[in-house]
Symmetry: D2
Subunit: 249 residues, 4 copies
């Protein structure tokens, strides 16, 4: 793929307005911090950032049309995302757009719609240590990482994570308080790729961490799908058989 | 599992009323034919049959409560199934109820909700021959089958079948007219098991075929889940860590 | 399966002879302790125990012929297992015998032959705490377990565990010292099932723990394969086509 | 990956010498035909071709060291490949080298070693038609292909194909004579990727077909692994825990 990968970073954008502490950590919003990093990566172009409060949540047909990979951060306002926008994003994923869900995005409508499960998990805010272990060292999303990396203070997410078994499991997290978590999970839906990445919180400065940022850029490159082969939707009636039919009786 | 597996057979039940030919093939309805067979199997008890026209489509809380495995045939009236009943069945699957989707059930709301994809496919009605090859001979659903079996006259379903890659692929079909199809597919969602089985049509007498009936009984036994380990839903806040926390800074 | 599942428990049996401490924990050997437990389970029959020092390591054609599930503990003497016995066990697994590898059995010839990878891992003996989390609560191997269980003092095994991604991942371990591990892994090879279960050590009394013993019995029940469908080996020449051939030119 | 992917094409090279008909179809050998095509692709560099008769079968440490992806065609002389060369290739795959097995390479020592199964299949030489259906249209190996493509005259390979269930299933073949086959299968072993591609025969001119050649180039690009994260082999003793240990008693 010689053309740059076109990324849109979506953020609910509610925490930043309601909570001064969040605004201090992410003065341009979580989407702004992520977009600023991705925009500097070779072969990646940030074509848009978008938030909940915009018309159509900033995810118009035109924006999605030019988006190869969509990144999604959300937490407080999952229910305020309109179903027709969720359906639009879903359709684009099946047609080949990559989708990267961050942190509390696990409970977003779009993630639950793609997974078919409840997507619940356990959580705790105790500023504890997390260590992410790479369990698939040849995976493109792990490219350039050490065998593990740490976050000194993070919110805990613990199993049972109610997801279909990942097609590819890249990271497992160890938490100081005693839990584990499947923190980097890949699935394929239609022609599109879906990656869920656990770390990230509105008050811990996770999206400035060097390893985290590397994962995000790697994930964008992984999630961008080539043109591929035709994706048939619906239920076409193929009246003319390709080979002669005589029945087997 | 020493207690019998309790099965409910659900059928849309529309074809049988509208089309005399269908009523001739299945005088007690497709559900009646399947229930009659399953009821004779050791270790299986049919606790209910149910159809679209019944109140709550016959799938009340009480019926689902006593159902270990639900079998689902549908074709013409997917959209008439109420969303709240779909949600109820979905919840039960995640909690551990087995679900077996038959033939045109691939486009049912419940299957699409569990898969997260479009679930489309190609089709043709030309009374052609189908040969089902077992590609996983140790799988319980293939128990007692020959290495392949044939249906002399059937409706064709062809790839691309728009599903997540099956967790377990049991059958691949060869069609006389030139197509192939992943005809026996297993997935796991929450604590529940889902099996899609392609053959079956309202005018071809598929559900009287000895091999097909064997697959249905095998699938019921496979789909019945043991008590298992606790299934956590929602997002419980685990305030008390299991191990002491000092942070990693 | 109404007949009892016939189990053979194989143990290298070297530690018990060389180390008084091990002999104190397991006076009848590790195999003896496991066999004693399994023999009391409904529907399970222990048909043999066997050790390295016996002729053909106790795994004669006759013993394997009557074995539905083979359990394997080994550590110090992997290289002393004769290749022809490994090939014999391998052949039986492909034909449908279940195989359960325990703890340091990860480096056995038979496990590496079935996996195709190096099967290495990290380890530490520091009597640390392990907590096993169930990540697939509907899996038969997790039947009757709580959402997690603990071992107060154990040897650590840490990622990267060099295995093919498991077909079914049942347990992930948290270790006090900071590592995680995929502790309960299922694979399918030919008609046979393979389960690797991490816990177990020659001096910690792991195989007396109630949850561990429950997993072993569950695993035996899971690994026992039904008769299934024919398993073709070799490369038979099918001279007569099933359908007429005219070529496509 | 801005540097070209370095490919070595290995061919047994026995048919071409023994059979005039084969030599006419492939005057430079099968390896020569494939190498000629790949060498013209952007971003791919053929660094070597190699055959059985060469010292170390042409697969010296030096050659493998500079090989990102190894392509393997073989049929008559699997047993003549030295075990130490098989082990060398195996080690390189686990460390990250891509391996593409062609056609009768299904019975090669290296494929069976990586799979852990028997790798048998059915076959027939009747110059019948094959139609390859894409069942994963977003997969890089299917890039630019139509939804299916045909080979007018080919050798048949039929199920049961005795392999571990593929991590990614890309193609299913339909054969005129009545069989089906999983024709394009991906696995991951260590840091390396393995792709098996069914078509290809010594007398049918398969490796001149436009779609086949596209698959080969796509497969090379897919199989080339990025640097990744460290791949730990062996069983290192991690004496110093990462976090403090107190035991759980």
């Amino acid at each position: 793929m010689s053309k740059p990968i076109r990324v849109t970073v979506w953020n609910e954008g509610v925490h930043e307005k309601k909570d001064k502490k969040v605004a201090e950590v992410y003065p341009q919003g979580i989407h702004g911090a992520i977009a600023a990093h991705l925009g500097k990566q070779q072969g990646i172009e940030v074509v848009a950032t978008a938030t909940l409060e915009q018309p159509e949540h900033g995810l118009t047909e035109a924006v999605l049309e030019k988006t190869d990979v969509l990144m999604w951060w959300a937490h407080m306002a999952h229910d305020q995302v309109e179903d027709k926008i969720v359906d639009r994003v879903h359709k684009r994923v099946l047609e080949g757009m990559g989708l990267i869900l961050l942190h509390s995005g696990h409970f977003s409508k779009i993630f639950r719609k793609l997974m078919g499960t409840g997507c619940g998990l356990k959580w705790r805010e105790a500023a504890e240590m997390e260590r992410l272990w790479v369990v698939r060292p040849g995976h493109p999303i792990a490219d350039g990482l050490p065998e593990y990396f740490e976050l000194a203070h993070t919110e805990m997410y613990g199993e049972l994570f109610d997801i279909p078994q990942p097609d590819e499991l890249v990271f497992i997290s160890w938490f100081e308080g005693g839990e584990v978590f499947r923190s980097g999970c890949c699935w394929h839906r239609g022609k599109g790729k879906v990656f869920y990445f656990r770390p990230g919180h509105e008050t811990f400065p996770i999206y400035y961490d060097e390893n985290i940022l590397r994962v995000l850029a790697n994930a964008v490159r992984w999630a961008a799908t080539p043109e591929g082969s035709p994706y048939t939707t619906g239920a076409p009636n193929i009246k003319e058989p390709l080979n002669p039919i005589r029945g087997g009786g």
